[in-house]
Symmetry: D2
């Protein structure tokens, strides 16, 4: 298939939408990003890449980091993990707290904030004060790239305005579902959300999930085939907040979005994808990014369904 042509068609078709979304403005460090950007990168299993736009430009990966921390925690803890966090979609945002309360402080899945905070707590139990360094090491390793770090300005902004996340972690702590000091856990959590990566780097980092858990280029095994399938299943059912069903419905690929404007996705045994466009839709996912992926699976027929 001529992927370059497909990417060019997509770029043309999404132009009218570039003005529509709304850049995340809950922290100062994010809201100054230029909205009208569109970047997309595909990595085939043999390392071939297809790109459009400035794929080297770095942006804040935000919730995409949850895929990586969950992968690491799943590798360390296996099924034990499910004592602390579920794997069900969470329903809509308005009842996230009542659900957490009703379910005794066990978050529904590792891709909502409460769940990702629990995962960070588990990583702190494993790695103590080195937790963030270990998480960054892991991301550098799966991206096969030492040149990845976090953005201090974004991190400080998150920390200053993250009262809702402090509310979540304290509630879970009251249910004994947080083992470590809450400030330490939140610090690590906000740091990994503040990591900056380029579209190319993110696409590259997802390649192991398109290949049953093993990096097809370096041959490193990051998780077993069975666990890789489960991470992908979770991205499909829970990867896009309260638009996860919509994403499955229209795009039909396992993926994960971040409020920074990035979305990663994989086509099992074929390729990994990253798209970037910072204007968000009402559910907090990249508006153009979602549309671009929908166009991609429509044009190529490469949905998993």
């Amino acid at each position: 298939m001529n992927y370059n042509l497909v990417l060019e068609e997509i770029q043309k078709e999404i132009q009218p939408l570039l003005k529509v979304g709304k850049v995340a403005d809950y922290i100062p460090a994010l809201k100054n990003v230029k909205k009208e950007q569109f970047v997309m990168c595909l990595h085939l299993l043999d390392g071939t890449t297809y790109t459009i736009g400035n794929v080297e430009n770095k942006f804040s990966i935000q919730s995409i980091s949850k895929v990586f921390t969950f992968t690491k925690a799943l590798e360390i803890y296996g099924k034990e993990l499910y004592k602390n966090v579920g794997h069900e979609p969470s329903g809509n945002a308005f009842n996230s707290l009542v659900q957490l309360e009703h379910e005794n402080g066990i978050p529904r899945n590792p891709f909502i904030n409460a769940g990702a905070i629990v995962i960070t707590d588990l990583l702190r139990s494993a790695y103590k004060n080195n937790s963030f360094d270990k998480i960054l090491d892991f991301i550098q390793e799966i991206a096969d790239n030492k040149n990845i770090s976090y953005d201090k300005e974004v991190y400080c902004s998150e920390l200053e305005s993250g009262y809702r996340n402090f509310a979540l972690i304290n509630m879970m702590k009251s249910f004994n579902n947080i083992s470590n000091n809450v400030d330490d856990v939140i610090e690590t959590y906000f740091k990994h959300c503040s990591i900056s990566m380029s579209t190319r780097e993110l696409s590259r980092a997802m390649l192991f999930l398109a290949n049953q858990g093993t990096d097809p280029l370096t041959k490193k095994v990051f998780v077993s085939s069975s666990k890789a399938k489960r991470i992908n299943a979770l991205m499909l059912t829970c990867g896009h907040y309260d638009a996860s069903g919509d994403f499955a419905f229209h795009v039909g690929l396992p993926g994960k979005s971040g409020v920074g404007g990035g979305i990663v996705a994989i086509i099992p045994n074929l390729m990994s994808i990253c798209v970037y466009s910072p204007g968000l839709n009402a559910q907090g996912n990249s508006l153009v990014g979602t549309k671009a992926l929908e166009l991609f699976t429509s044009k190529t027929g490469l949905s998993i369904f």
Copy 2:
């Protein structure tokens, strides 16, 4: 692949679980079913079947009928449908009513009861008093089998004890999301839930969804390829009540369960499957059926992820 061998292995491995589940007892007509049954049927696209157990034995399809009514309504209404029913997972059961209320009587998806009732209402708007006959015709057509009907005893039991469904429909009516007379809609709804089919018939009826919307044997086009993918996506994210995430996680196939003990699933472009075992798990899905499908994808590697 030697599917007969796989089915035999599965049958052997699930034996200890046959005593564990709990047969649905909310209506008298269901609770007298013998629990220790296990039946499974695969249909390849060329019509080849692999079976184990008594695949001709009929049982109540219950919520599996929601796949067929949704398919028909999607064919008639297309995107207009989404004014009346969403396509997001619903979160857990305990707050289904408050969610419905919060979201102005628009159910989250067509596979929860409220959503399937809305779909039935839409079919009544299209077919008036012939609605149930038309639904049955459609199921007979996709199953390529005229010998399918509903069980009057099950139907009457449902009608007598279905207060919760009456609560749901009246609430949606108060939000103007039901156009027809509530008693008429509920009657049609309970009738299609009371349809009896065998494991073989259900497996056969799902073949069009494994083949992009077109029956591979009769060549009849029931829905477009694009719509078939969406129905499959919806089965994956919403097909198993509050265990949908778990089913995606452990089985990794689009599927739909019913409290009668049946589960249907498809592997895109390869086969359709039906498994039957009436003992249910805590979420109301066939306990052995779920396990059998998990074993099937583990042994064959045929998950969509």
Copy 3:
């Protein structure tokens, strides 16, 4: 105290508010009422009355009927009643259904719709098909007035548009908290809500609650002193939907409002009061009526606190 003077002052002060409220429009039979009306009547224990406005004009008592049905049911069932309905304030409306669901179909108190429906069900268990006649008899007896009946037009409107109440009763039936046929119970419920009474008649009917359960003029004992206090306590904590706290705070009297525009209140051992003005505030209580009662207790110092 010169109550005539107090009533005249109140009438003058509420004039600017007569245009502000919104007449109930959920049923046609109510929305044609003229908004700019203000009527008030006081009954002292010796039968002396003080009035302003057209106190003979009849209006729909709506939820005020809940005080009378609860009184009758409390007399029949005593503490047994609390198996079926609680006596706690209900919090705000948005979670009424989830609360009902969470608490297994037991409504929080007899003055919210769900609770009053349960009370009506209990009266049907006691009185069978005579239930409405018996309820009407009781109201005629406490009002010492045979000339009270229900408004058929209001009743039919309620029945046609009362889907939410049908939702509530079916949900409670699914929890086995309704013993009788749902249509029969709803019919009786809507009939007693459709009773018409004048401001003078309602004020008179409340006199027994201002006098420890005994009519001070006819000397008939309707409930014990202890039960009368409890009915009054319940009016204070639950009498005005989600503005019950506000009413206690600003008015400081036990009272009950109806969406028809009436409010009844009592001052223990001193008087009963009825005020009527059909414009409602955001919580569904008479806007001018609430203000008039606040002015009354401010001017006279007659709050119970």
Copy 4:
């Protein structure tokens, strides 16, 4: 009336209940209290006291402090207060957080934890770092007693285990309903909850609320008559968590309980009361204390209804 005789009768009648309740055990400092205690004190407006049990024994006042902080804040801010906290009952505990979320971080009333934290925040805005000293001064003044202080052990225990309160304050901060540093506010909040007072001191401190806001002995005016009535109304509708309706129903007096085992109550224009017994009922109120007050109003007929 022979109050001494009434108190003796009550003491006799509550004996079998002394073993029933459960002492608060969420912090170590509370759970070592001896359960089988019963103490009660009445203060008439002329200063006459009637007592039973060890009325000089100090205990942790806990939530009773909310009456005093609310009084002070109402005096400072008047109606402005209602921008930050409501005056409605809160419904049951299970959905307190979702309610807070639904209502944009504005707690329902100042007697639930979230509301009392907002009040503490307002007092910090007024008094800055002197806040706790000013609160303690105020309590000493209304109790006419300099010998009142907080218990450091209780305070430290609260601070160590108060994750749920940290969750509440952070959530309200995320809605901009907390102006000061969250740690500072919580510190002040836990300090005033940790104040120790005797049954006699608490009864004495409530005398101004039984006398329209003015201490009848010192003649100091603490709040206006109108505000005193509102504080009393609020105690009636919201003073006992999710048993407020029950307390109004069975006792019929404005009151406020604390998990330390104390309950204060007032009879307008007649007396203030404090009862102490540390065994709690399921709703977290003193079991024997509640029963003793119910017996008191039954025997004396002194309910406000």
